[in-house]
Structure formats: structure tokens, C-alpha cells
């Protein structure tokens, strides 16, 4: 399958184990979208603004969905969220916050900054799809499900 034809998901997560579990959950559920993993906040913005190593649009396609961990090195998830949601080019891209604790203040702060939804880790496929359906227009993900 040519992944370039599929919608890309951007996963911004620094914890290697959590990356593994999220990828496992999404792939085991049958999702075949390309998932690009970025491990720190600054690089996430570099990716979105195509700076540095992410300058090539073919290698750095615009994501249709961003899964964004709250606690990241160099720049927090909230700082990234604020930057993206105040930028007219990126504010339409849905962002699902990933939180370890489900801390209410974090969730409220995320909502204020424009997060579309949140998932308390670990990411599980059913929960993920439930959230994606809630975002409405992103049927692209669902149409990419393989028969499992």
C-alpha cells in the first residue's frame, strides 16, 4: 500500500514505551494510516512549520490528526497546542491531547487552548476511534481501516 495516499497521523510523544503501546493499539485495531512520531515539543513545531530536517513536504506531510502528549521535553504539549491553534493554517487540524493522569486542570487548560479532545493513556483502539468519530469530518481514518 502506498502510504503517501493515506492521511497521516502525527504522534507527539517522548516516552518510547508509550509510543510502542500506542502504535500497537492503532495497528492492532486495523488502522493503516502512516503514523509519524516526533519525540519532543520543539521538533513537533519544526515538523509543522517544515523547518530544519522537516523541510521536504513529501517527507513531512500535513497530518489529518495530531495526538499530542501533555508533558514533553523542551516545550510542553500546551505550548505546542497554543501555537497551532492560534495559527490560521493549523487551527483546523484536530488535536487529541494524551494525558497520563487525567488531571482535570490539564484537560480544562487543553480545552481552553483549543484541544478537540483528550485521551487518558494508555491509548486503546476503541477509545481512540470513539474520539475520532466524535471529531466528525475525519472519516478518512475510518475508511483506512483494514479488515482484521
Amino acid at each position: 500500500m502506498d502510504y503517501r495516499q493515506l492521511e497521516t497521523i502525527l504522534l507527539v510523544e517522548d516516552n518510547e514505551d508509550h509510543i510502542e503501546h500506542t502504535m500497537d493499539a492503532l495497528h492492532e485495531g486495523g488502522l493503516v494510516n502512516k503514523i509519524i512520531v516526533i519525540k519532543d515539543g520543539k521538533s513537533a513545531l519544526d515538523y509543522m512549520y517544515r523547518r530544519g530536517e522537516y523541510q521536504d513536504p513529501k517527507q513531512s506531510p500535513r497530518p489529518c490528526l495530531i495526538l499530542l502528549d501533555v508533558k514533553l521535553p523542551k516545550m510542553s504539549g500546551f505550548e505546542i497546542l497554543e501555537t497551532l491553534k492560534t495559527d490560521s493554517e493549523f487551527k483546523v487540524i484536530p488535536v487529541i491531547l494524551l494525558t497520563t493522569t487525567g488531571n482535570k486542570e490539564d484537560i480544562d487548560r487543553g480545552a481552553r487552548l483549543g484541544a478537540n479532545d483528550y485521551i487518558v493513556k494508555p491509548v486503546e483502539f476503541d477509545n481512540f476511534m470513539h474520539k475520532v468519530k466524535g471529531l466528525g469530518k475525519y472519516w478518512a481514518l475510518i475508511s483506512n481501516l483494514t479488515d482484521t
Binding site: D14, D17, H18, H21, D24, K71, T100
Partner: protein, 357 residues
């Protein structure tokens, strides 16, 4: 009976008793003339003399607009007011006080004067500020802890599920090894975090084991240990200045230098030409590196608990600088950071432990 005669009799026994109080006490006549003061008042305002008008203490030539004695006279009762006065030559040192002024009446209900009692509550204010600071720190620790303890638990849970799914698969020995290894690493990370927290708690609540330390020998040994441990990194450790004898808790101060040097190595980005200088000018110590330096936003909160400038490994919790700060605080010292991105970082500190009795 408190009347004009009472004031005239100048009861020495009463004044002697008032002299024992930490509060400033002053008797003022109805015409705002200072009549008598206790020792605490004289100590605080050495230029005040009996016979002076009380408002002259504030540099006024007439009764102050905010005169509490006037208000007490008007309502015929006492006035209690918390006030913050700016003191010092530059009038920039706040002094929080509680002022109580009561009208002194005779049997005929006539007011003969006033008694003013000033209670210095600056220490209380400082304790309050300190408590607020500790409370905020406590909240941020709880927040970070809930994340840093839950994060490995989520990992462990994920690997256990993976193991469960793979248990029927005869070819899953690699998956088994991987999952068990990661579970072990996460348990170790949690254990290390708990140890860091226990150590932090011991620093806060424990006593320093003060002893005179020959800093030159002590730091040379430490530098040698680090050179051996960081041999593959080709880290250069230099000593600068004349290191004398320092009264300190040797184990804790070793922890300070070790944490600062570890940080310099850890955040150097793997550079081969890392040079770390351990220096002193006889009063201040420093650990200087030519590493990548800190971004201003990290520098400003570098001593906060659970602050990480870069992702290092699962056993780094961003508590190192917080522990360093606490140890220096425990030694009554000061600590500060100078850092510029691309130019390196220098952490300065002083030690002023109280002499053991």
C-alpha cells in the same frame, strides 16, 4: 485607675514590665506629645524622645491624616490596624506591623491620652510567604509525581497485555524478552524515583553532619572518580582557585558537585570537547561547563522540582537541581545560575552553615 495622675505617677514597675515586651509600647498625651516609651520602641526609633509629638516620628509637622489616635478618640475605643511600612534608607524594606491604639480614659470618661502598641509581624509574614512557596512546590511535586509514577505503570500495564496476547504464540520469545526487559526497566525507574523522593525528604527534614573538609583533596578525589566514570566521553575536569577548609556536610556537598557535574555531562549533547571547571574564589564555588547552555525559560525554573530541559533516560526525573538547591539552602548558602545558549552554563553557590554548638 488610668488618668492624668496615673500618667504623672510614672509607675516604674509597669514600665519595667513593658520593657520586657517585644512589642513597642508608647504612652501619648491627648495633645499627641510622647510621654513614655518602652525599650522596644526606643530601639526601633532611637531618635524619639518624650516631649516630641508622635507624628514627628513619621516626619510630619501636623497630626497625620491617618492618625489612629484621632480615630480611637472619635469612637472612644481601640483601633487595630495591620500596616506595612517601608523602612531603610531607600525605603524599600517592608516591615509588617500590627498597630493597636487605645484611648486612655479617666473615671469621668474624659480621654487623657493614648497607649500605642506595635507588634512586629514581619517574621509571621515571611513564614506565611515561605509556607505559600512550600505549598506551591508541594502541589507541583504532587502533580509531577502523579505523572512520573503513573507513566511507568502505564508502560508496565501495556507490556503485560502484550505478554498476555503473545502467550499462545510459540515464536514469541523475542516479544517475551522485550516485554520482560521493559517491565524490569520501568520497575527500576519507579524504584529510583521513590529513592530520589526519600532522599529529598531526608535533606529537608534531616540535620547536616557538619565537619571541616579539606576541599582541595575532597574535590580532587571526586574529579578523579568522575574522570573514571566518564572516561569514554573524554570529559576534561579542571580545578581553579585555592580551595581551603570548609565547614559543611561532606556527603551532601559531594552530592551537590556530583549532580552539577552529572548535569553538565548529561546535557552536553554528547560533545567530545566538554570541559568542566570546578572553581572557587575563596567565598563562592562554581561548576562551569562549555556545553550547550540553557534556554532562558529553563534557566528561570531550573531549581523547580521535576524540571527537565531535555529528555535523557527513564531514570532522570529532573530532581537533581532541586536537590542541589535544597542542600545549599540547608547550608544557609545562595545558589544561582548563569547560562547562555551555545556558550555554556555556570552554577555558583556559597556555603554559610551555622557553627555547631
Amino acid at each position: 485607675m488610668i488618668d492624668e495622675d496615673f500618667l504623672k505617677r510614672q509607675p516604674e514597675q509597669l514600665l519595667q514590665s513593658l520593657n520586657l515586651l517585644p512589642q513597642e509600647v508608647v504612652f501619648i498625651r491627648k495633645d499627641y506629645t510622647i510621654f513614655r516609651m518602652n525599650t522596644a520602641k526606643i530601639k526601633q526609633h532611637p531618635k524619639l524622645r518624650p516631649g516630641m509629638k508622635c507624628y514627628e516620628a513619621f516626619g510630619f509637622h501636623n497630626v497625620c491624616d491617618f492618625c489612629l489616635a484621632g480615630q480611637a478618640e472619635k469612637i472612644g475605643s481601640y483601633i487595630k490596624n495591620p500596616v506595612c511600612v517601608m523602612t531603610g534608607k531607600k525605603k524599600n524594606k517592608p516591615r509588617h506591623i500590627n498597630i493597636i491604639i487605645n484611648a486612655l480614659c479617666g473615671p469621668d470618661k474624659q480621654i487623657y491620652g493614648f497607649i500605642e502598641i506595635i507588634d512586629n509581624v514581619e517574621a509571621l509574614y515571611q513564614s506565611h510567604d515561605q509556607l505559600e512557596y512550600l505549598n506551591k512546590e508541594y502541589e507541583s511535586v504532587i502533580y509531577a509525581l502523579s505523572h512520573d509514577l503513573r507513566s511507568p505503570l502505564i508502560s508496565i500495564e501495556g507490556f503485560l497485555r502484550k505478554l498476555k496476547k503473545s502467550r499462545q504464540n510459540p515464536d514469541a520469545s523475542d516479544i517475551f524478552d522485550h516485554c520482560l526487559g521493559r517491565i524490569h526497566a520501568n520497575v527500576e525507574a519507579m524504584n529510583n524515583l521513590v529513592n530520589v523522593l526519600l532522599d529529598t525528604s531526608r535533606i529537608i527534614t534531616g540535620k547536616l553532619d557538619l565537619q571541616e573538609v579539606d576541599m582541595e583533596t575532597f574535590l580532587e578525589h571526586l574529579a578523579e572518580d568522575i574522570r573514571i566514570h566518564a572516561a569514554e566521553r573524554n570529559v576534561k575536569i579542571e580545578m581553579k582557585g585555592d580551595f581551603g577548609i570548609e565547614l559543611c556536610d561532606k556527603i551532601r556537598i559531594r552530592q551537590v558537585f556530583s549532580n552539577l557535574i552529572d548535569n553538565a555531562i548529561k546535557h552536553s549533547g554528547g560533545a567530545d570537547n566538554l570541559t568542566i571547571e570546578i572553581g572557587t574564589d575563596g567565598v563562592i564555588y562554581w561548576v562551569k561547563d562549555n556545553g550547550p547552555g540553557m534556554a532562558p525559560e529553563i534557566k528561570n525554573k531550573v531549581f523547580d522540582p521535576f524540571i527537565q530541559s531535555t529528555k535523557t533516560d527513564g531514570n532522570s526525573f529532573g530532581m537533581g537541581m532541586n536537590i542541589v538547591h535544597k542542600i545549599i539552602q540547608k547550608h544557609n548558602g545562595d545558589i544561582w545560575v548563569e547560562s547562555e545558549e551555545g556558550k555554556g552554563t555556570t552554577v555558583y553557590f556559597s556555603l554559610k552553615p551555622e557553627q555547631p554548638e
